[in-house]
């Protein structure tokens, strides 16, 4: 698979390597901490108000892993991130984000760098893992409402010849738009679903942390 990448030099936009994924994760951890109160407030409005604290606990644990352990391959890194989140977050976000990274790892098996197409397979595997674990669909007012449009945008960009960074940028834009669209939705999954119609008018906290994750891939 590495042969499909024309110039596997660190930092070239044609590929995404272990250092890039590490930077992505560190940036996400910092953004989660910066947005903890926002996530807590969004969750308090329609859930139980623990999303900010839970995500901060999980990403702090991920950073501790990054500080301690060097990773040679993308799948080893992603798998460890997934296991760390599963072990530290709890609630629904732990299994969902944990499953995302555990499944994301599989198509990247043995790779230190990936091209845009293989990264797309990893993103798809991750998002499908969230779907299976949460048994949710688009429109249920969950993190999938950010991830599903992001995945579609990513694939469209790659089909049009985009490299990973450009495709991830499109994904981030679509993810943010999808997140914003959850405001008018009525929740059908998770604790927010007990509010029924009263859940409309609030942005979904899971979609918000998902949109942040996608944005951290590129900026």
């Amino acid at each position: 698979m590495m042969s499909a990448v024309p110039d596997p030099v660190a930092g070239t936009p044609a590929t995404l390597g272990v250092p890039d994924l590490t930077t992505w994760l560190r940036r996400y951890a910092a953004e989660i901490v910066a947005h903890e109160q926002e996530l807590t407030d969004l969750d308090a409005a329609i859930g139980d108000g623990d999303h900010g604290a839970n995500m901060t606990r999980g990403m702090t644990a991920v950073v501790a892993v990054l500080d301690q352990t060097p990773f040679e391959t993308l799948d080893a890194l992603a798998k460890k991130v997934g296991m760390t989140l599963v072990s530290s977050v709890g609630g629904a976000s732990g299994p969902l984000y944990g499953t995302f990274w555990l499944r994301f790892a599989k198509p990247l098996s043995g790779l230190a760098r990936t091209d845009a197409a293989t990264l797309g397979l990893a993103l798809r595997a991750g998002v499908e893992g969230i779907q299976q674990r949460g048994k949710a669909e688009g429109g249920d007012k969950t993190m999938l409402d950010a991830f599903l449009p992001a995945l579609a945008a990513y694939d469209a960009a790659v089909d049009a010849g985009a490299e990973p960074t450009a495709a991830l940028r499109d994904a981030a834009t679509a993810g943010r738009a999808g997140c914003a669209a959850t405001v008018t939705m009525v929740a059908r999954k998770g604790r927010a679903s007990y509010l029924g119609e009263r859940s409309a008018g609030h942005q979904d906290p899971g979609a918000t942390s998902a949109a942040l994750l996608l944005e951290c891939a590129v900026s």
């Binding site: 108000g49 623990d50 977050v89 709890g90 609630g91 629904a92 299994p95 007990y194």
Partner: protein, 334 residues
């Protein structure tokens, strides 16, 4: 917020420290994984019973660990499910060669974390695991458009009755069937006159006016069927009992185990008063309460209010209910 705590983030760990001291000799606490075990080793060839969930519902689940009930309880953060590592470790610890039953309340986080734990056990250990999900809360009417009915008071009955069956040495399939039977024949409904405050949140999780109460509230302060006018106990009892009885439905001549449960901040004097009202309504329907249980068994921190759980009983369930039990929160016959 005024609570008897030190730092909000230390509440679960510090409470478990006191729990371990208060019940030393009866339970053993793995403080690293916030998991409570029986002090005695599991009897070879008996089914292990593992439950768990967010903390804040004490005595559920840790208070029900002991002879005749749970083998282990995994404690999450307040109102946050435990993580798979806890459940995997507990499952391995309590397995005595006859498999392990996971009793899970139907909340999205609990279901997913127990599910992941069961997958990890299946991949890494030769332990048979069965799972029964409890969802007895009739307050949730539209289960197609929600995460489904919530697990509440039936959990206490399931832990006691399945625990008694496990203690008798019954095989995993039968112990699981009893828990499932309990869930299918139990219905619950709760109400609140005042919200609870999660320590790390620092403020009440919902608001109620002086003249309001939440009918059908969940044990994490989830919204119920409606916010309705505050009413005398006799009216509240009717508003809880009618939907519970109509849902199964219960019929005249049924025998029942009844739990009149406090949400945490309601005094026993009021719970007994409420039980009197509920018992009169059940009698009016020709339902015979064969075993009542009144007190704080599945709470919601400092929420004020109560819940009613009615379980249709048969001779087998009665026998299992009367079997000896010795846990921090429930004890008789031993």
């Amino acid at each position: 917020m005024k609570k008897l705590i030190n730092r909000p983030q230390d509440v679960v760990a510090e409470s478990l420290r006191g729990f371990a001291l208060a019940h030393s000799g009866k339970v053993r606490v793995d403080h690293d994984l916030a998991t409570v075990y029986r002090a005695e080793r599991p009897l070879l060839g008996t089914v292990g019973l593992v439950s768990g969930g967010g903390s804040g519902h004490e005595p559920l689940h840790a208070g029900f660990v002991g002879h005749g009930m749970l083998s282990a309880a995994c404690c999450g953060q307040v109102f946050t499910s435990p993580v798979p590592d806890q459940v995997v470790a507990a499952t391995q610890q309590v397995d005595a060669g006859a498999g392990v039953l996971h009793l899970v309340k139907n909340y999205t986080g609990d279901v997913m974390n127990f599910e992941m734990a069961a997958e990890i056990v299946a991949d890494t250990a030769d332990i048979e695991v069965a799972t029964v999900v409890l969802d007895d809360d009739v307050a949730v009417q539209d289960s197609t458009w929600t995460a489904g009915r919530r697990g509440t008071g039936a959990t206490v009955f399931a832990e006691k009755l399945a625990g008694a069956a496990a203690e008798e040495g019954r095989p995993l399939a039968e112990v699981a069937a009893i828990a499932r039977h309990v869930n299918e024949n139990a219905r619950s409904m709760g109400m609140a006159i005042a919200p609870s405050t999660v320590p790390t949140a620092g403020k009440p999780n919902f608001t109620l006016g002086e003249d309001e109460m939440e009918l059908g509230v969940g044990i994490h302060g989830e919204p119920g069927r409606a916010t309705v006018p505050y009413a005398p106990a006799a009216d509240i009892a009717r508003q809880l009992a009618e939907p519970v009885l109509a849902d199964l439905p219960f019929a005249g001549g049924d025998r029942a185990l009844v739990l009149l449960n406090g949400m945490g901040a309601t005094p026993l004097i009021e719970l007994y008063l409420m039980y009197g009202e509920v018992a009169a309504i059940l009698a009016g329907h020709g339902i015979e309460v064969v075993r009542p249980l009144v007190g704080n068994y599945i709470t919601s921190l400092d929420m004020a209010g109560c819940s009613l759980t009615v379980l249709r009983a048969d001779d087998e369930l009665l026998r299992l209910w009367d079997a000896p039990v010795e846990t921090p929160a429930l004890r008789w016959g031993r």
